[in-house]
Symmetry: C2
Subunit: 244 residues, 2 copies
């Protein structure tokens, strides 16, 4: 939907209603900002062996959880009081799902923070940090773009993120294979490398959740449920809709 259509659609809706929806949107973006910071802090804590920062990430997790409960309640209130329909209802229903994905991203960041503490006890590992940095930078960008595509109602940008998730999955698989080789060549490193692998897994999951958020954005903007579709099907579905 173009911004113009979106705006004119909203024009006949009461101001209170608009305000509720715009509050929802702002709260989701605020929650997203917290989660983005959690990812970068967790990865920094890991790379620099900064256990204080790692502990701070675990504390922030509670705030993120509270945000989820709060926004979820707001969504229910908007439905109960304002009976949104069509694209407004899609916005609310998508918000319910997107905050669940954001909360899970926060969970994964907290797991990385936990591993940061564990790895700092074991001494600085020399393996896997390059891969962690690389994949972390990719998934952070994905989360950032997903929030941006939500803020701008931009389905094309959301599609790019789903494409990028395939690249991250491939990079993850390569990293895991190379770490298994490291373990085989140096069995003393097993315990440490295992923790690095859990971190990579958490990052890969963050990428998945960013892709989920993007699917919800596409549903919200285009009314097309593209979950479980192959990327070519998603591309076709979006073209299809645009042609109409």
């Amino acid at each position: 939907m173009s911004i113009a259509t979106h705006e004119s659609h909203n024009q006949h809706i009461s101001q209170q209603f608009n305000q509720s929806l715009s509050e929802l949107r702002n709260h989701l973006l605020a929650m997203g900002g917290m989660v983005e910071k959690q990812i970068s802090d967790a990865v920094d804590a890991l790379i620099n062996g900064d256990t204080e920062l790692a502990e701070a990430v675990q504390v922030t997790e509670n705030l993120v959880d509270d945000m989820e409960v709060l926004i979820d309640e707001e969504c229910t209130q908007v439905i109960a009081r304002r009976h949104p329909a069509a694209s407004d209802l899609r916005l609310v229903m998508s918000t319910v799902k997107m905050i669940a994905d954001l909360e899970r991203i926060g969970d994964e960041a907290a797991k990385i923070a936990k591993m940061a503490i564990r790895l700092s006890d074991q001494g600085k590992p020399t393996n896997g940090f390059v891969e962690i940095r690389h994949i972390a930078s990719h998934v952070s960008q994905m989360v950032n773009s997903a929030l941006d595509s939500f803020a701008r109602f931009d389905a094309d940008r959301a599609l790019e993120i789903i494409r990028k998730d395939h690249t991250v999955d491939a990079e993850y698989a390569t990293a895991i294979r190379s770490l298994i080789t490291v373990m085989m060549e140096d069995p003393r490193s097993i315990s440490q490398v295992q923790n690095v692998m859990w971190v990579l897994r958490a990052l890969e999951r963050i990428g998945d959740h960013a892709a989920n958020i993007s699917e919800h954005v596409i549903f919200m903007v285009r009314g097309k449920d593209v979950r479980h579709m192959k990327i070519q099907e998603v591309e076709a579905a979006l073209k299809d809709k645009r042609g109409k």
Copy 2:
């Protein structure tokens, strides 16, 4: 409109409404049944090296995905057409979330099926199968009980499942520790044991999702959002509500 006609009109509406809600319930339980079968088939395929069964699990995943999209659409329709309020709205909103958890359980079962195929290529591993059987039986029971607590609106039963998830998490941690020792003692087993560890991780995630479903059941029945609460807080919240 006479009062009689008006009442019969209302009765008709409420009958339709009840029918929609009962359809939602039945569809969720049907989806749950499919997912339960996926877990047991995936684990059987793994234990018996049955690659055909493993492939069947991967095919069923598509059906589970379709069910999610279908039920999700039904929930939106019920909200748009029938404007449910209070406990009816809680039922619909909880259903939206529970099917997302069921779909993710299906995903994890498909991952186990993938590992079953990979492990059958590597020859039968001797390590970790006891743990897999044990934890698989626990999380299968959890999923079954979660669906049951939903069907019966039974918040106390749901609470038991959340308690059980803590036991499973502890068993999972013990299993992982013992497998890391196995890898250290026999580095040739690393690649195989790593796959067993991914299976255990998938099972542990299934337990988490069963616990999530239970939290949604508690919200649906008691109107109390107990996500992110400690188990003691959940117990207190349920007692509190009952005392009123």
